[in-house]
Structures are given as C-alpha cells and as structure tokens.
C-alpha cells in the first residue's frame, strides 16, 4: 500500500498492467502444473487398475488351471495311469491352490480397496475356501479311489463356479473404475479450463479496478485535497492540515510545501490568540474573584480600577469608584478613617505587603468588616498598588458569638461551683445554727418584756433565723430539686402563692405596689415540683417588689408559648412548647452590665433589692435549670421582666380533669393535612384532629406538602409558618394554590403574627393560631375555616 502511494506517478500508471501480467502468468503456470498432475494421477489410476486386472486375470486363469488340473488328474487316474506319472500335474495343482490363496491374501492386504471391492472379495472368500478345500480333498481321494474322487471333483465345481463368477464381477468392476476415472478426469479438465478463463477475466477486471483506484485514490483525490487546503488557507482557515505529507512522490512534495506555508501562518495567528486569551483570562480572574480588587496609583492613591466584586461589596460601579476616595469606603471613625488608610497605603508603597482588618462602608452607609491585603505591584511597567478586600463580617460576628458563648459557659460553670461550695458550707452551718436559733428563743422566755437585753436577743434570734433561711436556700441550690416532679399547672401555683402568708406579708410591707395577675386560663401543664415553683415565684415577686421605689406595679402572668426558633441568648434552647411564667415590674431596671451576674449567690443587694438571703435568684436559676427550663431576663428603664420557660407536658394534672365541650368542634371525616417540621408537633396536631373526627395526615416540610396535594386533594391544611430547613409556610401556601387555587388552610406559628402570616392570609389562608396547639384552638379554627 505504502509502495503504491510513494512511487512516482509514472510508475503508478505502470502498476496495473504489471499486476495483470504477473497474475496471468501464475494462472498459466498453475494450469500447466494442474494438467500435468491430472495426467499423472490418471496414469496412476490406470496403472493400478491395469495391475489389478492383470493380477485378477492371473487369478482367474490360475483357478481355471487348478480346475482343469483336477479334471486331468481325475481322468488320468480313471484311465488307471499310475500315480507317479501324473505326479507333476498333481504338484502343479497343489501349487496352484497355494497360489490362489497367496494372491487372494495379497489382494486383501496390499491393495487399497473401496467398499464395493471389499464386498466382492469378502463374498469370494467362502466359495474360494470351499473350492480349495474340496479340490485338495478331491485330489487326495482321486489318487486313492478315482471313482469316488469324481464325487468330490463334482462337489468342487459348485464353489468354483461361484468363485469364478465373483472374480469376473471384480474384473468388471475394475474396468468400470478405469472408465469412470477417465470420465472424471475429462470433467476435471473441463472444469479447470473454465476456471482458468474465469480467473483470466477476473484478473483483468481486478486490474481495471486497481487502475481506477490508483488514478482516483492516489492521484486525483490527493491533488484535489491539496488544492482544497490551499483554498482554505487563502480563506484564512489555518486549522485544516494538509494530508499526504508522508508520501514520497510528487504529490507529497507539493503537500509538504503547502503545509510549511500553513504552519507559518498558523504559528503567527496562534501567538496573537494566546495574547488575547491571556488578557481575557486576567480580566476573568479579576472579575470573578471573590474579593474586591482595587488598583491604586502608587503616587496619588487614586483608584484606577476595581472589579465586579468591589461593586457587589461596596455598592459603587466601576466608574463611580474611580472618582471616590478611600475615605468614602471606610467607616470614617478612627482607627478606620482616611488618615489611617493613607498610613497603611504608605507602608505598602514602601514595598512591605500589608494585611489588616478594616471597617468598611457600603454606599448605603452600612458598615461591614473587611480584611485588606495591600501590595505593591507592577502592571505594564507602571508601579501600582493592589488592594484586595475580603468581607469578613460573618467571621467577626461568629467570633463575637463565640466569645458570648464562652462567657455563658463560664458563667454556668461558676454557678455550678458556687452551688457546690454553698452546699458544703450549708451542711455544716445547719448544725451550728440550731444553737444560735434555739437558745435566744429559750433565753427570751426568761427575759422580761422591756429588759434592755431583750432587743439584742431578739436581734440574735432574727439573725439566726435569717441564717437558717440562707442555709435552707444553699441546700436547695446544692441538692437541686430532688423531690419528684409531677404534672402541675402554674395557674394553680400562682393562685396558691397569692393566697400564701408570705405573699400577704409582702403585700402588707409593700403597700404602694399594685400586684397584678394575668393568667392564661388555657395554660398547658408542666412537670415540676410545686414547692420549688412556689419558691421561685416568691423570690421573683420579692425581687420585683424591692426593685420598685415607691409606687409601682408587679405583674405575674402565665401563657403558653411555642418556640419555633431559639430564644435570643439561649441558642441551645430546644424548639418546642413551653409554659411561661413571667414576673415583671416597672421599677428602675437593672443595668445591662449587671444582668449577667444577678443570678450569682450573694450578688450585691444594692442591685438586687434590699432584703432576703442573697440567694434568691441563685435558687431561681438553679430550680429552673433543674426543670429543664430557661430564664429570659429583659430589663430596661421601664422595668424588668423575668420570663421562666418550662417545657410543657401533655399529662393531665392529677385530679384536675378538664371539661371541654368537644362536640362543638367535631368534624365529619374531612381530610386535613398537617404541615410541620417538628415530629412531636405533627403527632400532637394529628392526634387532636383525629380525636375531633377528622382524617389527618402529616408531612414534614413545605416541599412534601406541595407534592402531597398534587396527588391527594385535602379539605384543609394546617400550615406551620416557620420551617427553617426548607420553604416557609407562606411560600408553601403560594405554591399549593397554584395547584389547588381555593385550597383552605389555617396558619400555625409559635410567634406572634408576622408579615409572612399576613402575606399568607392575603393569598387566601384562613385563621392564624398560635402554638402550642390546644384541642380547643385547633378545633375551633379548623371548624370555622371549613364552614367558610
């Protein structure tokens, strides 16, 4: 193939006739050889058959001579010619018989026999053996008794006839074989002739094909392809290579010349393109960088160029940025003013790269943190200053948050160790105090009224009693709420407290204070120790009273609250239902700096009131902790609010069966879908709805809800508004009404009504209920909405 391609065009033209001649030559040689071989095979077949015919003829004449010997011996013996006279015939006869057998065995063993020949020879065996045996036997008998011998000569005649017949059959078969071989050979010759003719034609045809192929494939097509390539080059397409470069003929040389031309042009263009690409790359990096890039004039500090990110971070367009000062981009308050900025720039300009944090300012005036990397660079032989600003606001916030958390942990640990210490002290003090408390009592009995000793003794007793209270509180702190918790309702506790002697005394001592109570009658139960809760309430009310100078209001309130999101300052608070007990006053409030310390034992009374053991809030803190609750203190100029969050239990308060007229809220098997990301809430809502006679299903996200209603129409959806992990309730509802435009829904949320709730209601959602769910709330809202 390669040879054909590479040889010169003049040679190419010569190839087909050469091939034709060689092929025809080979065919002729083969034909001559074939004819010769055919001839020799024919001769061979002929020779073999002739040999066989000769041998079989011999065989036949031999057996005939044996037969005739036998008759001769018999006749001569009948003529009473003595035995020695006919001995030679006898001997000839014997040898003939032996020879018959030898020839037969040779034919059988030496010749390749076909099926027919074998068959004839096998058939021959029986009459031949019989003839031999009979002939031998007859010969012997004839010598003894010719008249009896004739018997046996006659009996030999039958197998002899059979034997002869088979011999002729064999002979005829041989003759037929020769004839057949000749015919077959003639036919073969004819076949060979036809084949040679065919091969000659075929060869010529192939030669023509080769010519066409060479002309087209090896000459025309490559020349065309080179001219095409030249056309492409002229048209500016440099990427198309020129084929046939490896050829060693004239076309190859032409192709190489064109290829050199193409390569040169291509190299030039590639260099240009590379330059362009490099510029594009630079711009892409510049624009897609996640940091804001500023390029300043090193001498003037003027902004020459900024990237897209700068626009996003600072709000200025590139054009605007070129005309503003660094001042504008900074908070403007030292140490983040123009002056400091210039100082950093100065240092960087001197050659030392600078890395620092900076308070930057958005076009809107919003301040945010950036980390600035200043570096002197050279762009196109010009000295420039590259400033890279990275937004680190989030990092900063996270840092602050971390510090806050650390403080909180620190505080909790401190409270815990203080508690432990207090517990230890309390134990010992309790014994000591019994003396101090008991003896003044006894002594006072003996001291007459009006005795100057009586006042000091009473003071001792008072002090002792206070010390006992202190110890008692200490023990509470130290032991924790060891008593068993049970389901209780804070409303009951509040009522009990209000009727207690301690509160009566408080009201008496603080007659200018108005004690208000705002209890939610639907308040859910909590698990707790009523003693401790009461103690908490008492301490808080006392604190509140003492926080008020002169007249004021102390409010005790309870309410149910559902936390969709963590309580501010208590990020570890669990989402869920809470019963909240609040005590607020309108006193002077607690300074923010002190808020953190108010729960520490013995924190200065200057801050936290004037009386008590100094352990009141410590006890509150401890007890709330023990109840898995949280304390939220809000204090300001208008007063202080202590909100205590206790987890709700759905257990009933022992002996306080609630009577709810359920019938009013019963449904009639309507299908309701509850959408809530909290499993517990889903269970509660579904449980209530089922109890109310609805068929309730629940899904755990807005996305699932959308999928669900696509397939299953429902009568109403109870939709949680706040689902932080996915789309919120409003968005969910928006999507659902695209599928089912008049879909009824009620909104549930732990928060007070928000803008999102309003938005949802504007879209068509129904009543808003505040979590936690109660049977009454849910029942009423669902019923109302369904009846719309």
């Amino acid at each position: 193939m390669k040879f054909f391609r590479d040889t010169s065009i003049s040679n190419k033209i010569l190839i087909p006739p050469a091939i034709t001649m060689v092929a025809l030559g080979i065919v002729l040689l083969l034909a001559i050889h074939g004819f010769k071989k055919q001839g020799s095979v024919l001769t061979q077949v002929h020779d073999i058959a002739l040999e066989r015919i000769t041998l079989v003829n011999e065989f036949m004449s031999l057996s005939e001579s044996v037969q005739s010997d036998l008759f001769r011996v018999t006749v001569l013996r009948m003529m009473n010619i003595p035995e020695p006279e006919i001995q030679s015939i006898h001997e000839h006869l014997g040898q003939g018989l032996s020879d018959i057998m030898v020839i037969y065995r040779q034919i059988l063993s030496k010749w390749p026999l076909d099926h027919e020949e074998k068959k004839i020879l096998e058939q021959m065996k029986v009459p031949m053996d019989a003839f031999s045996e009979e002939a031998r036997q007859a010969t012997e008998v004839v010598l003894q008794d010719p008249s009896f011998g004739i018997f046996l000569v006659r009996s030999a005649a039958v197998p002899f006839a059979d034997f002869q017949r088979l011999l002729s059959q064999f002979l005829n078969y041989q003759k037929r074989k020769i004839a057949y071989a000749e015919t077959a050979s003639r036919e073969t010759v004819e076949k060979v002739e036809t084949t040679i003719l065919f091969i000659a034609f075929f060869t010529a045809f192939i030669a023509i094909l080769i010519s066409v192929w060479i002309g087209n494939r090896l000459i025309s097509r490559p020349v065309r392809s080179i001219t095409d390539a030249m056309g492409q080059l002229a048209g500016g397409n440099l990427s198309t290579g020129v084929g046939d470069l490896n050829r060693k003929d004239e076309i190859g040389s032409m192709a190489k010349a064109v290829e050199v031309f193409r390569e040169n042009a291509f190299e030039k263009r590639t260099a240009e393109e590379a330059l362009k690409a490099s510029e594009v790359n630079y711009q892409t990096i510049f624009d897609t960088a996640n940091d804001a890039f500023f390029i300043h004039d090193l001498n003037t500090g003027q902004i020459l160029d900024v990237n897209q990110k700068m626009h996003e971070m600072y709000g200025y367009t590139v054009e605007e940025a070129r005309h503003i000062d660094v001042e504008v981009l900074s908070e403007g308050v030292p140490p983040y003013s123009q002056e400091e900025a210039m100082a950093w720039i100065q240092k960087a300009a001197e050659g030392t790269p600078q890395l620092f944090e900076w308070k930057a300012k958005h076009k809107t005036g919003e301040v945010f943190w950036v980390e600035v990397n200043l570096k002197r660079i050279t762009i196109g032989n010009e000295d420039r200053l590259l400033a890279i600003a990275r937004d680190i606001t989030e990092r900063k916030l996270a840092e602050e948050e971390r510090i806050k958390l650390e403080d909180k942990l620190h505080r909790a640990q401190k409270m815990e160790s203080l508690g432990l210490m207090a517990g230890g002290i309390a134990h010992d003090l309790n014994n000591i105090l019994s003396g101090i408390v008991s003896y003044p009592e006894l002594l006072l009995m003996d001291i007459p009224v009006g005795s100057p000793m009586r006042k000091p003794m009473e003071t001792i007793k008072e002090s002792g009693m206070r010390a006992v209270d202190v110890v008692s509180d200490l023990i509470t702190i130290a032991r924790g709420v060891a008593t068993a918790k049970e389901a209780l309702n804070f409303n009951t506790i509040v009522a009990e407290y209000l009727g207690s002697a301690e509160h009566q005394k408080l009201e008496r001592t603080h007659s200018f204070i108005d004690f208000k109570v705002e209890l939610n009658p639907d308040l859910l139960n909590s698990n707790g120790s009523s003693t401790h809760i009461k103690k908490i309430l008492m301490n808080l009310v006392m604190n509140a009273s003492e926080a008020i100078e002169g007249a004021g209001i102390v409010t005790i309130s309870t309410e149910n609250r559902y936390l969709d999101e963590p309580l501010e300052g208590y990020e570890d608070v669990r989402i869920g239902e809470y019963a909240v007990l609040s005590v607020s006053d309108d006193g002077s409030g607690i300074p923010a700096a002190n808020l953190e310390k108010i729960f520490e034992p013995f924190y200065t009374k200057n801050v936290m009131g004037r009386s008590g053991t100094g352990l009141g809030l410590a006890v509150v803190w401890n007890s709330v902790q023990e109840h898995n609750g949280y304390i939220n203190v809000k204090s300001g100029e208008k007063g202080t609010v202590f909100e205590l969050y206790f987890p709700v239990t759905r257990e009933e308060v022992a002996g306080a069966e609630a009577e709810v007229p359920l019938e009013d809220y019963f449904g009639q098997g309507e299908k309701i879908l509850v959408v809530d990301d909290e499993e517990r809430q889903r269970e509660i809502a579904c449980g209530m709805l089922t109890k109310l006679g609805y068929i309730a299903e629940a899904v755990s996200s807005g996305e699932e809800a959308i999928e669900y209603v696509k397939e299953h129409p429902v009568d109403l959806i109870v939709l949680d508004m706040v689902m932080p992990k996915g789309i919120n309730g409003r968005k969910t509802y928006e999507e659902i009404i695209k599928i089912r435009p008049k879909q009824k829904a009620i909104i549930a949320s732990g928060y007070a009504k928000t803008k999102e709730v309003d938005a949802a209601q504007e879209l068509g959602a129904g009543k808003y209920i505040k979590k936690p769910y109660t049977l009454e709330k849910v029942g009423l809202a669902v019923k109302e909405e369904l009846e719309k």
């Binding site: 014997g94 040898q95 063993s109 009896f148 046996l152 006659r154």
Partner: protein, 675 residues
C-alpha cells in the same frame, strides 16, 4: 547350597501358586482314567531318546525314561531323578545326588552307574553333540552320587539333563555291548519314567501303562496313555471334536486351529514349545553367487514381508522370529536390525550390488527348496516368496522334494540356492543354535549343520566364549552381540516361530505347559472331569426289519459297547456280518451332522473327510438327505436317486441306505448297492 536355594524357592513358588489359585489348588489330583493322545508328528523309529532326536521319540521316551532334571515354565530346573545337583566353582564338574530307592520298570535300583552310562551313551550316540561333548568322564563315588567331569565349563549341561535329552538307561539292559542305535530294547524299552510300554502297533498305536513303582509317590495319576499315530490333521480334529482323543501335541494346522477353537470342550495353548524353540527361516547358500553378497541377502530380506506371512498366510497363529534365537528363550535379543518390507530399497540394494535388471525385467534366477511337510510353513511361504521376489527382478524356481530325506540330502550336500527351513533351538543355544552358524560345523552331508557355509571369525569367537561362560548375564551380552551381527549379515532370513499349539480336553488337570511341554513326563496330568459321550437310544429292531437296519443297529450297539477303535476291527470283519465287499457292500459309515467322516469300515472314505458338499445325481446335497433319514424319515431308509461307487468294485450303482443317530451329533449309515 545353590541347590537348596532353588528347592526352597520352588517350595515358596508352589505355595504362592497354591495361594493364588485357591480352590483349584485345594482340589487334589485324582487317580485313574486313560488318555488318548492323537499324535501327528510321525511314527517314532523307536523309543530311546538317548540315541534319537525328534519330537516323536521324545513324546513317548519322556514317559518311559526319567532324567536327572526337569524344568518348569520359567526355565528353572527342578529335581527329578537327581535330588540335588551342584556345579563346581570352576564349572568343570557337576555333582548329582540321586533319589534313593528309585527303580527301573524291571525292579532293579537306579544307581550312579546307570547315570554315568547314560551320559556317555548320549555323548556317543545322540546327534546333538554339543550337549555332552565336554564331558570327560562321570565318577560314581557311591551308588547315589554321580560327578560329571568336564573339560571346560559348560553352561548348557543342566538343560542337557532334561527328560527329552538325557534318558537314564538301565546299564544292565543297554550296556550289553550291542550298538545302541539298533539295540532291541529301543523298541522294548526299560526305563524308570511314570509309564511303561504296554503295546506298540507300528504306525498306529502306542499303549503305555502306569508304572506302579514310580519313584515319585502317588504318581502318575493316569492309568493308561494311548498314543494314536494319525498323520491327517482332519482325522485328528474329528477325533478331538468327538472327544475320542484328548490331546494333540504340537498341532499346527492353521484352518484346523480355527475350527477346533470353536469346540467348547477343547483348550488351545501355544505354551510348552519354548524349550524346543523353533525358527522358520529362508536359508542362503553362501557358496553361490549372488548370495555371497550381503547386499543381495539384505535386498531379499527387504522384499519379504514377514508381517504378511504371519498375519495372512499363518492366520495370525505364528510369531515373528527376528533372529537366530527363538523369542521364548532367555537369551533372545529383540534389539536387532530388522527389515521392514521396502521393495524400492531392495531394488536399490540389488542395483548397488551390481545386479541390474535385464531387458526381460530379471536380474538373476535362483532355486528355492522347501521341506515337504507343513505346507503352510514351507510350500505356501515359498510360493509367496517367489511372487514377492519376482517384483524385484529375481526369478525363482520353487523346487519340490518328494519327501523329507530328498530335501535333507539336497540341503545337507549344499545342493541348493535358497531353502525354506525350520530348525529348533533345543533349549540352550549351545545345543540348537551354535550348530548352524559355527564355521567349524560346516559339515557336508549333515542336515542342520552350518549348511549355509557361513563364516565369521567374530561369531566363532562369541559362540566359543558363550559355550563356556557360566555367568548368565555375560552369556546374554555375548548372545546379544551374536544376534546383532547375524541380523546384519543375514546368512538366513528368519521369518517366524512354528505355530505349534497343544490342543487338550478341558477336563484335564495340570496340562503340559512347561518349557518342554508335551516333551516331558505326564506324571502330573489327571482328569478333573472325564469326557462323557451321550449316546442316542438305539432304534428297536424287529424281525421284519430290513437287513440294512439290522446291520446298522448292530454296528451302533457295537460302537456304544466297545468304543470306536475297538469296534472297528469287528466292523471290518465280513465274518461278523459286516462289509460284504463282494456283494451289495453293506458298508458302514459314520459322520458328524456337519458331514465330517469319522468311520468308514470299507476304507473308501478317510477319517476327517468332508462329505457335506457331495451331490446326488439331481444336484441335491446328500448330507441333508442322510440326516433326515437318521432322524427317522421313511423309517431311516434312504432310496437315493444318486449313485455311489462300490468300495470294492468301484462300480457306480444306485445306492440305498439306512441311517440312525449314534449321539446327538453323530450319524451312522449303512450303504447298500442295488444290482
């Protein structure tokens, strides 16, 4: 020591065989019965193997005479008259200790004197000179010790003391000074073997009776042995088939072997001829051109296809012989030059030897003789060789000899070009092999000497050494070289081992299968189960019965009562009412249902003749007509449209017959000629 060792070994071997054969070994050989031997090997001239070689003398002689040793199937000597034997370290003396108390048939004790006498007699008279040629004298220090003194070590001495080769003759009978070759006691032998000669009808029957004083206690087991001399193998076969004969020694009729192998009560074995060690060969007269040329001899070897001879001419019954030593011998060497048939090579060798083809296609002409016995081994092969050698341009004239002596005279006197021959090894190569190759055994007039006139100094040397080498391995090495030289030089072309077989009745125990086979005493042979002939019931005879039937029934009664051979005498006697050769014939014939004749009192038909294909005048086969009559058709009477020549007058006349069944297979017919 050595003797004891061999005896110990023998005991162990016997025990091992007993262990292996289990139940058979447990069955004790039984006394009694007679054995009919059908012998086709010719009539023995006399019964003294000391002065006569040949199997016919040996078969009878070994029953009558004991010898010092006998042999087992593996060429191991076994004590016989010699209880122990010891070859001295220098190999120059052999001490025999004889069995004590052994006597000759006439009651006289056997002594070392008899042994000494016998050895010297064999040395003097036996044609196998090498057997005892080295014996200088035999010392007889006491009546039971004979010491053979040798001029040189003689490894063949032990085999030479085999029963067929060294009969112990009573000195008091044969040592009377008469020529042993013609001694009258040769025909009335006195020996010490297991049987005594009771009766001899020359050319017909030899009757042997049990020697009750045989020196091996309890043996022999048979009471009587009748050896029937029957040359015609066809007659032998019908005797065996009809169980009237029980053993054919050395049977070699090839079609006959095929036929006999179909009889369930017969066993055919090629074992027992290892000692004889026959080799059939094509011999060259090396004195004549062009056979003096080795390449011509090799060319002839390449032209002959022994495989064809064995497989087709011998029907696979013979074995290939590749060299001068028979393949059954311990000295046989298979690794020799062989000549696979290759006509091209033969032609090439002949061209090279300077004998190109003449215009008529021939190169030269040769005569080829053959022994006029055993045609399958001699004449047939000769005729085959003629055809085969023609193919390579050698014209062969096959020359017939009228009888064995004519052939022997021609060959012995070197009056031949090539001849077919068959020669026996006779145990040790020293005895039967050396004679035909040693240059000092080129003896005109002596058949089976070195009639080829082969001379090779190295061969002479080797054979000289092998004749005195007592170490078996060294002898083997010498014979290996010998066989390699000979197969390369080809004084003869060895073709095959004779297809000798012993055919015996399956009821016989301990058949003769040692290396000497039937040429050894039959003292261990016994009847496990005697042949039983079941006769058909004789047809009833009434007063009105035709005379034909009367004769037939009488003949049948006679046959049943006396047996075939004893009955024959009566059946041939016209005075007894049989065989009216002058009148209508009344000629009794017997044949099997396959048409094989076993009886014809007229002698018209020979025993073994096949009449199955004889036709009547209308061309119908006669045998079925006989069988129909015998089975009762027309009261057994057959009126033949055919003819039958009168056995006496030979006149042909219509024949009538009466036939009856003698046994389930045998038919008796009485034929009569109608005037």
């Amino acid at each position: 020591m050595c003797t004891k060792m061999s005896r110990c070994f023998l005991v162990i071997a016997t025990l091992a065989i007993m262990g292996l054969t289990g139940l058979n070994a447990a069955a004790e050989p039984r006394r009694g019965g007679e054995l009919v031997v059908s012998y086709g090997g010719g009539t023995p001239r006399h019964f003294n193997p000391a002065v006569q070689s040949g199997t016919s003398t040996a078969i009878v002689g070994t029953q009558i005479f004991a010898s010092p040793l006998r042999y087992d199937e593996n060429w191991n000597p076994i004590p016989y008259l010699a209880q122990t034997w010891k070859v001295s370290e220098d190999g120059r003396s052999v001490t025999l200790k004889l069995v004590e108390g052994a006597t000759f048939h006439d009651g006289r004790p056997i002594t070392s004197e008899d042994v000494a006498f016998s050895i010297m007699a064999v040395k003097k008279y036996h044609p196998f000179k090498p057997m005892f040629a080295p014996v200088e004298r035999v010392d007889t220090p006491d009546p039971h010790t004979a010491i053979i003194r040798l001029s040189h070590p003689h490894p063949a001495i032990l085999l030479a003391m085999s029963p067929a080769l060294l009969p112990i003759l009573p000195k008091h009978v044969y040592g009377d000074g008469q020529d042993l070759k013609t001694h009258p006691a040769n025909l009335a032998p006195v020996g010490s073997g297991p049987f005594k000669l009771a009766k001899y009808i020359p050319g017909k029957t030899i009757v042997l009776e049990r020697n009750d004083h045989y020196f091996i206690p309890g043996r022999p087991y048979l009471d009587k042995i009748i050896i029937r001399l029957e040359k015609d193998p066809k007659a032998q076969m019908v005797e065996m088939e009809r169980q009237v004969a029980h053993i054919i020694p050395a049977f070699s009729d090839l079609t006959g072997l095929d036929r006999l192998s179909k009889s369930k009560h017969l066993v055919i074995t090629p074992k027992g001829f290892e000692g004889i060690g026959s080799v059939v060969w094509l011999a060259f007269n090396l004195l004549r051109k062009p056979l003096d040329e080795k390449r011509v001899r090799q060319a002839i070897a390449y032209a002959v296809d022994p495989e064809f001879i064995i497989k087709y001419l011998h029907r696979g019954r013979s074995r290939r012989a590749t060299g001068p030593i028979s393949p059954g011998s311990p000295f046989y060497e298979p690794d020799v030059q062989t000549y696979r048939v290759d006509l091209d090579r033969a032609n090439r060798l002949l061209d090279e030897a300077g004998y190109p083809k003449k215009p008529d296609g021939n190169r030269f002409s040769l005569t080829l003789d053959y022994i006029p016995v055993m045609p399958s081994q001699q004449r047939d092969v000769a005729l085959y060789l003629k055809r085969q050698l023609e193919k390579v341009g050698i014209d062969i004239r096959v020359r017939r000899s009228k009888n064995f002596p004519e052939w022997a005279t021609r060959i012995g006197n070197w009056d031949f070009d090539m001849t077919m021959d068959s020669v026996y090894n006779w145990g040790d190569p020293v005895i039967g092999v050396h004679r035909t190759y040693l240059s000092d055994n080129i003896r005109k007039g002596v058949i089976w000497s070195n009639t080829q006139n082969y001379r090779n100094k190295r061969v002479d040397e080797i054979l000289g050494q092998a004749a005195v080498e007592m170490d078996k391995d060294k002898r083997k090495a010498l014979y290996r070289e010998f066989q390699q030289i000979l197969t390369e030089e080809l004084p003869v072309v060895w073709i095959n081992v004779l297809p000798f077989h012993t055919v015996y009745h399956a009821g016989l125990g301990k058949p003769p299968t040692t290396i000497w086979g039937v040429h050894a005493p039959f003292d261990e042979l016994y009847w496990k189960e005697r042949p039983a002939i079941v006769y058909a019931s004789t047809p009833t005879l009434e007063t009105q019965s035709p005379p034909l039937k009367q004769v037939g029934v009488r003949a049948m009664d006679l046959l049943k009562e006396r047996g075939l051979y004893q009955a024959l005498d009566v059946l041939k006697d016209p005075n007894q009412g049989f065989l009216d050769l002058k009148g209508s014939g009344l000629h009794v014939i017997g044949f099997t249902n396959k048409g094989i004749v076993f009886l014809d009192n007229s002698g018209q038909m020979k025993t073994g003749m096949d009449i199955s294909k004889i036709l009547d005048i209308s061309g119908k086969r006669l045998l079925p007509q006989f069988l129909e009559a015998a089975n009762g058709k027309s009261g057994g009477i057959l009126k033949s449209k055919g003819f039958w020549p009168h056995p006496g007058t030979h006149k042909v006349a219509p024949m009538s017959a009466w036939c009856g069944m003698l046994t389930g297979e045998d038919v008796i017919c009485v034929l009569k000629w109608d005037e």
